[in-house]
Subunit: 498 residues, 2 copies
Amino acid sequence: MGAAATGSAAERLRARLAPLSDLARVLQLLEYDQETAMPRSGAAARAQQSATISGLLHEGMIHPEIAELLDAAEDEGVDGDDAALVREVRREADKARRVPTDLVREMSMASSAGQDGWARARDDDDFAAFLPFLRHNLELRRQYAACFEVDEPYDALLDDFEPGMRAAEVRAVFGPLRDKLPALIASAGERSPGVPTGPFALGGQRRAVELLLARVGFDRESWLLGESVHPFCVTPGRGDNRMTTRFSESSLESILSCLHEFGHALYEAQIDPALDRTPLGMGVSMSVHESQSRLWEVFVGGSIAFWRGAWPDVREALGSSVQGWGDQPESFVRALMSVQPSLIRVDADPVTYPMHIVLRFELEQAMLAGDLALEDLPGAWNDGMRDLLGVTVPDDRRGVLQDVHWSIGAFGYFPTYALGTLLAAQIWEAARAGLPDLDAQLEAGDLAPLRGWLAEHVHSHGRRLTPREVIRAATGRDLDAGPYLAYARSRAEGSLGQ
Amino acid sequence: MGAAATGSAAERLRARLAPLSDLARVLQLLEYDQETAMPRSGAAARAQQSATISGLLHEGMIHPEIAELLDAAEDEGVDGDDAALVREVRREADKARRVPTDLVREMSMASSAGQDGWARARDDDDFAAFLPFLRHNLELRRQYAACFEVDEPYDALLDDFEPGMRAAEVRAVFGPLRDKLPALIASAGERSPGVPTGPFALGGQRRAVELLLARVGFDRESWLLGESVHPFCVTPGRGDNRMTTRFSESSLESILSCLHEFGHALYEAQIDPALDRTPLGMGVSMSVHESQSRLWEVFVGGSIAFWRGAWPDVREALGSSVQGWGDQPESFVRALMSVQPSLIRVDADPVTYPMHIVLRFELEQAMLAGDLALEDLPGAWNDGMRDLLGVTVPDDRRGVLQDVHWSIGAFGYFPTYALGTLLAAQIWEAARAGLPDLDAQLEAGDLAPLRGWLAEHVHSHGRRLTPREVIRAATGRDLDAGPYLAYARSRAEGSLGQ
């Protein structure tokens, strides 16, 4: 792939890796296009293309020259970014070498087929039609996990999303949540007014989203807002920051969703450009990524100070449907942030949210271990929703078929959502301590100080640091559920917890 | 790239080439995205990505295993599609091996930089700002041409767009056009009412374009219509047919433009799916491609019979601005197809059009030979426009800076536009002969017979046949300017030439 043959081993390693970074960015673009533009009948060809690029990425990472350059770089001695590069590439290459490229391509193809099969099965509320895709993807992930020497297969899968974390650590974090949240949910629910129900005109929502995004720092010159069935964020390259949202007349989910995706996109946008075209130039882990989206969604989006500044324009944009909330934003924000057990994870409030994840984590451990027959998954799902959240699942569309993850083989991903929510509270606490004038800045629409604090303490590092190091650098300690539980308790006491 | 190691040499060759086809499709997607969605600040990263993929394609084609598989396939003996595959791949691989991969990547990077530089220079009407990009791209194409043993450097460049054709052949075709067209243009111009001038509401134009596209065969399930500064067409994969158009209140160019791009997209959509993921599964040459776009633009779009069926709905969609043309389409179509010397190639009518190309062909031969100092290009352009078309160029924006081609290094491309226009007339003549009820079908909006005739005689072949063989298969003879000149003469006599 055109490696330069000159310079230090670290320089040659960078030259060798740069085209792989390009291909990884192109994969993100393929996803963006598939979800926002591609005719559905193009799915088969796109699946081939994604598998081809995934295969090239894998072949590139296991190439003997990478191993030689890593050895040579260590022999020459590296420090600073070069040391971080060697550390990360060795970790990735060691993992990649354990996996046959054919399995990588097969997982990519099964992932594409599963996504399509899931979308159709969900449209038809037909779990039986989804079952073969689930079975195939699960089997491939079992084969994948078996490539690694781990305490339990789940660890191998989790590590792809949360480098260095083990399932046992997740269980240790989730145990107390499972114990403590139900009482807090009940109490916070009693004190919540209920989420805003529409109809909310789509034109008004679009203008409101534009206003809010402009306020937080969305720059039209280098950012793009698309629409897709499920909101997501990709960064196909420096200066090309993309997020999507979705609009529904029956809710204002577009508002919190756009702040959520903005947080993801801002993370990528603020990574040190010196790390571009290297494996260091990306978010450090899925939970840290999610902490950034949740920070903007829950803590900026739930800030009365922020809304004091934003409300007049947003209220005008949303028009008659929100006039009842008056000219002060408090009651609107209380409604927007209502705690209320519900069926759909992505619409869940921040207090009930972790319970959705606890359920998925328990189910996917059981599936992976073979303790749960896949035919019994819908029943187990529905039982879990009743036990954990007290809700009755009316159909699989709003139950086990609601999320794409298992259809694409992304077992081990879900825990990072809840970990990210916890971490968001912890980082928000640190940001507040670091920015004594934050409330005034939020109200004035001066978000540059917050963006700057996040850039300095979280974003700019990219993968220079490990996830644990990033968390310590930003907050002074390891991941700690304390700030999140304090937030949940304050919600239970009727405060907005800011 | 994951070649299967089993089967015949031809099968192994196919397996080896399939990922390269995937990457070539991805390159098309990168272009589509860049022109329809990408924030401009993403251009530098995108340029790297395109260069990386271009380099991979080149490295893939010059890999020793390709040459070994070609030899092995010939030793084993091949026929049918396998013989065509070996012929085409040997041609491409022989060409690719002459060119250093570094030059391929450098041309890709210079092409991206040139496109950006050109867009800015054109916005500012600043030829001097464009000059360095032009100079660099021309120099790289000189280096590229020098890799080949050809009668003249132009032949090496032309061959990339029109395999097997020489500059001398183009001169032999263009000579008579240069002689005969001026008188025909003058006479046809006198008999033309002038093109429709607006304002035409954009909403109405969008509806009209949708109606027309639905009528010719645009299928929403597998086709996508985007908007871009310059209309174009790409096919990122089977079942994923994309075209763009542009809308301006001051003209109805969107109507002919959408028929033009439809013709390109239909060609790719109707290639035999058995050729997918091989180098045979694409249009055979740029002139044959252009013949398909021009056939739909000039000969369907200029057909009174077609418009008799389409006019009532289109007229209603376009609203008050077209009511003056009455409830019969004749006078509207005469206006739409007006012959009238003008400044901009892409807006030119089919009779003046070839003169725009003759000018570009003469200028790029002079630039390549070093007979024209690049500083003198605007003057030479303006002189040529006066001599060939009798128009005065008011500024470089509407003169030498109007087209993207030279900025991306695409010297040798322009002739295929005029050749395609000639070929469209020749193929249309053959289609009319093969479809005796064509006028009735056009009027009834039954375009399936025409699409089917084109599929059978032109599209389905892909690159199974050479360009010359495709032309012979469709029309029974070699490229011949006769049908086009007959069309131009009929326009000079005041007929619409159908």
